[in-house]
């Protein structure tokens, strides 16, 4: 039995097939054929599946190569102590008394660490070199290329292809930069925003406590290799009148530092408070602020520890110690029960620190715990997966696994 639609279809087809508008007769055939022959396109090239696959692979490889070329991480600079061991970021060089050490860099630069001086390598890759003079004098001969920064206490010297020396005396808190060739830009306490340019044959002296900054011509008569440590130590009795930017403030009492280094944290904190805690926060160097924060934390004064760390981050935002301060702030917040704040600080640390930072794993684990405790289970699990992928046998691996199992 035919359906009404089939019956309708039959009638329509019958009409259609004899409709002169579309009927397929001889003249229509000739017209269509002639038109097609006149317009015959060139046959398309056969794209066999294997050719398509090869082409796709080639395109993918090309894209991968391009991506790699554009985004490849900079080749790390190699550096080593002349005639000695290779060095990496985090290492330091102590020159013994009476002898100097020379550090050679693979791109041709060299740094001489003079007798009794200590130089720390903070960062090292093809684009950026960050060194810090912790004590004494270093003389650098820098080739153009990477951005060189040499820190000295609260000061830093940015280098653009030059020969110069940086000296730092932590006891007297004085810094000196002397430029032989090229130019150096020095930034730090008492120096106007944007820094001071120290050019060839100029010398810059700066004092943390008095905030004196003095730029003058380097004395030509000065014997080569004069002892900078003595020079810097003697600056207090220098007869030349420094250009005072303001009335010299009261020198900082450094007893707290001694006590903190001896592990007497309560006494160190008391000394720091007597010396004026706020004043210390405004004037201490980054490493001293870390020391002060640790002393306060270990003495049980979390708020003051937090203040010191925040002051460090505020004043030395780009200092290598800034991420560490974030980590410590995270730990303080977690200890104080403020898990959201802790998570925020650990995230800040992870964003700022190098991926291979010694605290990176710990921070990832602590971030996961803080997220879980703050009730953000989704982010905590995400963080747990990330942690396990990177540290499958890490200290927080069991916590991460149990967190994922709870799902």
């Amino acid at each position: 039995m035919t359906s009404p639609f089939e019956e309708l279809g039959e009638s329509v087809v019958e009409e259609l097939d004899r409709d002169p508008r579309v009927v397929f007769d001889g003249s229509r055939r000739h017209e269509q054929r002639a038109r097609l022959i006149a317009a015959e396109p060139s046959p398309g090239r056969a794209w066999h599946p294997w050719r398509l696959a090869m082409a796709s692979m080639a395109v993918a490889l090309l894209a991968l190569g391009l991506f790699w070329a554009l985004n490849r991480p900079p080749e790390p600079l190699q550096c080593k102590v002349r005639g000695g061991r290779a060095l990496a970021a985090g290492d330091w060089i102590d020159a013994p008394q009476g002898a100097s050490e020379v550090v050679d860099f693979s791109e041709g630069s060299s740094v001489r660490v003079e007798s009794g001086a200590r130089l720390r390598i903070f960062h090292l890759d093809a684009k950026r070199v960050h060194l810090a003079v912790e004590n004494g004098r270093v003389e650098s001969s820098v080739h153009k290329g990477a951005t060189w920064t040499i820190g000295a206490g609260p000061y830093s010297a940015e280098v653009i292809g030059t020969q110069f020396s940086v000296a730092w005396a932590p006891e007297t808190r004085r810094m000196r930069v002397e430029v032989k060739e090229g130019m150096v830009r020095v930034r730090g306490i008492g120096i106007q925003k944007g820094g001071i340019e120290v050019r060839a044959q100029q010398r810059l002296d700066a004092h943390v406590d008095t905030r004196e900054v003095r730029l003058r011509k380097k004395p030509e008569t000065e014997p080569a290799g004069s002892d900078a440590r003595v020079e810097l130590a003697d600056r207090g009795t220098d007869t030349t009148q420094p250009r005072a930017r303001r009335a010299p403030p009261r020198p900082l009492d450094s007893r707290w530092r001694k006590l903190a280094k001896e592990g007497r944290h309560r006494a160190a904190l008391t000394a720091a408070r007597r010396s004026g805690f706020g004043r210390l926060l405004a004037r201490l160097t980054a490493s001293d602020l870390l020391l002060l924060a640790d002393a306060a934390r270990l003495a049980g004064d979390r708020p003051r520890a937090g203040r010191a760390l925040k002051a460090l981050r505020q004043r030395f935002g780009r200092h290598p110690a800034a991420p560490r301060a974030a980590f410590r702030l995270g730990r303080l917040a977690a200890e104080g029960g403020n898990q959201r704040s802790a998570a925020r600080w650990f995230r800040a640390f992870l964003a700022e620190a190098r991926t291979n930072d010694a605290f990176a794993g710990d921070a990832q684990g602590r971030l996961m715990v803080a997220l879980e405790r703050s009730g953000d289970l989704r982010s905590a699990r995400k963080q747990a997966r990330r942690y396990l992928a990177r540290y499958p046998k890490g200290a927080y691996a069991a916590t991460a696994q149990s967190l994922l199992r709870e799902k």
């Binding site: 019956e7 009638s11 329509v12 409709d19 317009a39 794209w47």
Partner: protein, 221 residues
């Protein structure tokens, strides 16, 4: 209701009609096997005539039955053959050549119908003039016009399912194959098309009457 809509973009206009019937003295349909035809189509640079001679009838019928009496019929047929010539290298099995030709024709019609739907929705383009028909049978001509007027109001996929099943008389698996969908989807589309068609016919008393006259709705209303 318009029987058909003009769509100036629907077909390739770069090849104007050359009414040169004198250019072709005689045409003899391809007598060899599809395997041989496919080989020649893929190797020859002048395969248009071979392809046309073999499939002109199939393509014309498919376009006629799915698109209806359309003033762009020849342009659509031409476009189908152009598409066939451009993609003939993709065919691997000669026994599927004819099915592939029909599918390309259906796809081309689908493209034309979709463009017309879009143009109609945004009121772009002119209404095509009513094509004069020399059909002597007035009732038959009216049936044709009204039926395609209803089909024009169906969504493209439903319309194609309906025409392939009831005008081309394809089996359901064939309908599914030509539409490039599963059998279940083809069945579903056909059912929807029937429902919509019935609803639309009830809005057109004349067509309803025409169909009733022929006893198509159970004979006799």
């Amino acid at each position: 209701m318009q029987q058909c809509q003009r769509d100036e973009n629907a077909v390739n206009k770069s090849h104007p009609v050359k009414a040169s019937s004198s250019a072709v003295v005689a045409t003899i349909a391809w007598q060899g096997s599809d395997t041989e035809l496919l080989r020649r189509l893929q190797e020859s640079t002048s395969a248009a005539a071979l392809l046309y001679d073999r499939f002109a009838e199939d393509v014309n019928r498919t376009v006629r039955r799915t698109l209806g009496p359309d003033q762009e019929h020849d342009d659509v047929v031409h476009e189908v053959f152009i598409q066939l010539l451009r993609s003939v290298h993709r065919v691997r099995e000669a026994e599927k050549l004819r099915g592939w030709v029909i599918s390309v024709a259906i796809n081309t019609v689908r493209g034309v119908l979709r463009k017309r739907t879009i143009f109609r929705r945004f009121h772009v383009g002119k209404e095509p003039p009513e094509m004069s028909s020399a059909a002597e049978d007035h009732a038959g001509r009216d049936l044709l016009r009204r039926t395609f007027a209803v089909l024009n109001r169906l969504p493209v996929e439903l319309r194609l399912a309906f025409t392939l099943r009831y005008l081309e008389s394809h089996t359901l698996p064939k309908v599914a194959e030509h539409l490039g969908c599963s059998l279940a989807t083809a069945k579903r589309r056909l059912k929807k098309a029937e429902q919509r068609f019935t609803a639309l016919v009830s809005d057109d008393p004349a067509l309803y009457e025409l169909m009733a006259e022929g006893g198509r709705f159970g004979g006799g209303q």
